[in-house]
């Protein structure tokens, strides 16, 4: 029985601790209730939560750089957190926590729109402004989308870059090296790449799924090069598989014969662009994307923009147009040998 008494005492202690704590800090609880009631932000700092798809990869770190810059300019408290493994369900859980903490704006880069939709709707119901950036969410889950590129333009942009580098009349095989078979974004891009490839003379030989694993990406790249003698190009469409594929081409001594293209920040791919393995890197200005997102968040928190607004003033970016509920950043960019050194992100 002794052990049970011990256990009961411990449980009792917890039961006592819970109300004890809430009473401990009256000033703090008052502060929270103040934050939960959504008085227009004036006297206090606006709190904006920026949620990337994956935290800790260079792409989103460069977005964060821009976001920080804007936050300093505007005097905003910026919270930057996201799942390090890119699990969209963890994104949803973070949104739920921010909803309870009562931030003013949540900016979400949904890794899978349907998964986070529920949490985003709840946040809106609690009076928090929700916008999406980098990738769009479902319609009713957000008020604005900071649009840098749609899946359509990314997929077609990749294929066009490859066709331009190879010459439009080139025949032969191409391979896509993706991330996981379940990666929502990559799958969406592949869906738009397929029709674009079908219109060209290139044949999609296979799609490999190495996961977010650099060794597997490198290995898969090596294997497809030995397997398909008529291989002309490889699309590396994740931050891991793009450099992996480029490295595989170099190690197989096929630099220049098998071209690699994909999405990446310029800094990560500079060395491959200079050796000629990669001729085009497709992306947009990620620093500006983060910068614009925070400006939109601020404008929304101070009610500067609402449904129907057509332009927004975004600091050093000047005026940006709003089409419907999409804030347009501009088109996708193609980095080549000539211009890649001008960018540092």
């Amino acid at each position: 029985m002794n052990r049970f008494v011990c256990f009961c005492l411990a449980s009792l202690a917890i039961a006592l601790a819970v109300p004890g704590c809430t009473n401990n800090s009256p000033s703090r609880t008052a502060e929270t209730s103040g934050e939960n009631s959504k008085a227009p932000a004036g006297s206090r700092k606006i709190r904006v939560a920026l949620l990337p798809k994956i935290k800790g990869i260079s792409y989103f770190s460069s977005c964060y750089k821009g976001a920080e810059e804007a936050a300093n300019e505007l005097g905003i408290e910026l919270i930057y957190d996201g799942p390090t493994d890119g699990d969209p369900r963890k994104q949803a859980e973070m949104i739920e926590q921010w909803t309870i903490d009562g931030v003013d704006v949540i900016c979400v880069a949904p890794n899978a729109p349907d998964v986070v939709a529920g949490a985003m709707k709840e946040a809106r119901a609690a009076g928090i402004a929700v916008i999406t950036w980098d990738a769009d969410g479902t319609n009713e889950s957000r008020s604005f989308f900071v649009n840098q590129a749609s899946a359509q333009s990314i997929g077609e942009g990749l294929v066009n870059a490859m066709l331009k580098d190879l010459g439009p009349a080139t025949e032969g095989d191409v391979v896509i090296i993706s991330a996981d078979a379940t990666s929502a974004n990559q799958n969406a891009w592949i869906e738009t790449m397929k029709p674009a490839l079908a219109r060209s003379k290139l044949k999609l030989a296979t799609i490999k799924y190495p996961g977010e694993n650099a060794s597997n990406a490198l290995a898969d790249g090596r294997d497809v090069i030995s397997k398909y003698p008529d291989l002309k190009g490889i699309f590396g469409i994740s931050t891991v598989s793009f450099p992996g594929a480029a490295e595989a081409v170099e190690q197989s001594g096929k630099s220049g014969q098998v071209l690699v293209t994909g999405l990446s920040t310029p800094n990560d791919m500079k060395k491959f662009v200079h050796t000629g393995t990669v001729r085009s890197v497709v992306l947009w200005n990620t620093v500006d994307l983060g910068y614009l997102t925070i400006h939109v968040a601020k404008a929304l928190a101070t009610r500067e923009i609402k449904d129907g607004t057509t332009t927004i003033k975004a600091g050093r970016l000047g005026e940006k147009s709003i089409v419907g509920d999409n804030v347009m950043l501009g088109d996708i960019m193609v980095f080549t040998k000539d211009n890649i050194d001008q960018f540092d992100f």
Partner: protein, 346 residues
């Protein structure tokens, strides 16, 4: 280990002498693995003869090397009746530390300092794990599970959201082109396999590890120091993980925080598929090495089978089936294994 059955050491499980003939070495499990490897390669080879080219197999061996190196250490850990599932995260941490020290953009320290420091750090973390297990008496699966998450987080924090690039030219050249035409990772793996095999077969320390795994009680009575043996096994694993990091990571295009993800599972799978008893005291190196080859060759084999876009998504399922096949076939055919498999608790 308190189980009475594990006290009966059967003679087959003892490390075999070098002089023993080849066919005695290749027993049940090894024969099954060899059969699976050759069957797979023949099937793939018939489909596409390019699979047999020297280049492809050279590359497969290069990929085997880090797994084989670390598996040598983890095997010894499992032989003592413990387990180590932290090697993947440890690899990531060591890669990050090594990268930050050596990269031209970061501290730009000489390789002659950076590499020994990396090896030392790996060994140190291994010894730390071992001390928690042997002196702190925390079950090894718990310690290494904790380290698995903690070290991965630490790595991400240390990298600060950036990738590490530009390792010294010399290091990447050696890793990619190798030494006298033989890739450095294969040389390292050969060295480690030789060392481990000598350790198991010819040095008392190796036999003591087996003795400890067979029965901790009798090992203690025979005057063996459990603490020292476990410290050694874990320290060795840490050292080998550092070695694998040094020879394998410079081959990759850049160092990012995801390096070595699921590596620990691959290594443990290889050790288990290779026939090392999870309850300790049994297991041969050759089985583990064959398992490493088998597990590594599945991906390239599937590429050469040209299974198509829909087929690619079955990759993981096929890998799982191979593991299941290797594990189950053995116990279906061998009565002996079935008999000793009764003892579950380690």
């Amino acid at each position: 280990m308190s189980n009475s059955q594990t006290l009966t050491v059967d003679h087959d499980s003892r490390p075999v002498c070098f002089s023993t003939r080849f066919f005695r070495l290749i027993r049940q499990r090894e024969a099954g693995l060899l059969l699976l490897i050759s069957l797979t390669s023949v099937v793939v080879g018939i489909h596409d003869v390019r699979f047999f080219s020297v280049d492809v197999w050279r590359d497969i061996l290069v990929r085997c090397a880090p797994t084989a190196i670390v598996a040598c250490g983890v095997m010894l850990v499992v032989v003592t009746g413990e387990i180590d599932i932290s090697v993947g995260s440890l690899m990531a941490l060591l890669a990050a530390v090594m990268g930050r020290m050596l990269s031209e953009q970061e501290f730009d320290i000489s390789c002659w300092i950076g590499i020994p420091v990396t090896l030392g750090l790996g060994t140190l973390i291994g010894v730390f794990t071992g001390s928690l297990v042997s002196m702190g008496r925390v079950p090894s699966i718990i310690v290494t599970l904790g380290l698995l998450t903690a070290l991965r987080g630490l790595t991400t924090l240390m990298m600060g959201g950036k990738n590490i690039d530009r390792l010294p030219e010399g290091l990447t050249q050696v890793a990619k082109q190798g030494f006298l035409g033989v890739p450095i990772s294969i040389l390292a793996a050969a060295g480690v396999i030789g060392l481990t095999s000598v350790l198991i077969h010819h040095i008392p320390l190796g036999r003591r590890l087996y003795a400890l795994g067979s029965s901790a009680e009798s090992a203690r009575m025979a005057g063996l120091s459990e603490v020292r043996l476990k410290l050694f096994a874990f320290g060795y694993t840490g050292f080998l993980t550092a070695l694998a990091t040094i020879v394998d990571v410079p081959r990759l295009p850049k160092i990012e925080s995801g390096i070595g993800s699921e590596f620990e599972l691959l290594v443990v799978t290889c050790v288990v598929v290779g026939g090392v008893a999870i309850s300790g005291g049994q297991g041969r190196l050759i089985g583990v090495l064959l398992a490493v080859v088998l597990m590594t060759m599945i991906r390239p084999a599937l590429t050469f089978m040209d299974i198509g876009e829909a087929g690619e998504k079955w990759t993981r399922a096929i890998q799982g089936m191979f593991i299941l096949l290797a594990v189950v076939s053995d116990s279906l055919f061998s009565w002996r294994q079935r008999h000793s498999g009764k003892v579950h608790a380690a």
